[in-house]
């Protein structure tokens, strides 16, 4: 299945991308996706980031569904 993955703030510098399309197996968890994205972009490993699935911060056990919108979020800086 295809999902859209967005990279924000310093992470878009790390990956060189604002967003891209990923092809994932069905029943992939956020934790598995985290491993895959760190494999693809090794520089992510040292960074703190959260993963949002459909605009909600998700824990590693959450399953990624079809048509999900994923986002890698570095530390927040609002205010």
């Amino acid at each position: 299945m295809n999902v859209q993955v967005m990279y924000f703030g310093m992470l878009s510098e790390t990956t060189g991308l604002q967003s891209e399309s990923w092809t994932l197996n069905e029943q992939v968890t956020v934790g598995t996706f985290r491993e895959k994205v760190e494999e693809k972009y090794p520089l992510l490993k040292g960074k703190k980031f959260k993963i949002a699935v459909n605009k909600q911060i998700a824990t590693d056990s959450v399953l990624i569904g079809r048509l999900s919108e994923l986002a890698l979020l570095p530390p927040f800086a609002g205010g």
């Binding site: 924000f8 703030g9 949002a52 986002a71 570095p74 530390p75 927040f76 800086a77 609002g78 205010g79």
Partner: protein
Amino acid sequence: MDKTKKPKKVFVQGPINPDFVAKSIASHQSKTGIGAHALFLGQIRADQKEGGVVTGIEYSAYEEMAEESFHQIRESAFEKFDLICMHIYHSLGLVPTGEISLFVFVSSKHRKVAFEASEYIVEQIKANIPIFGKELVSEGGYVWKENS
């Protein structure tokens, strides 16, 4: 009053102008149940960093998620506190040092509620809204800001 809970526009491009704050205050003078307004303004500091002094912050956000998160903060604040009005504005893009990037405005009958709600909302924004900031420094580089 202002208690309709549909999402409201929070983001503004560039700094928040003091005249905008004045207009917001003036627009509440017809709401004669209000006895107390608490306003919080976040202003960009000229902090010293390795690459020089901060000259401004360039803000970006995951806007769609941020709007939803702001909406959740609004809902929880109206649930927790007996507020009459509540407004949040946050900058996107460049905000130079000395200018305002966050404006939280709550109004209530009595002062205690306004104080508590103001602090609650600001803390929620700092912790839960996907906003990102590049602190631009005087020697030309930048540092990514991280809320503590």
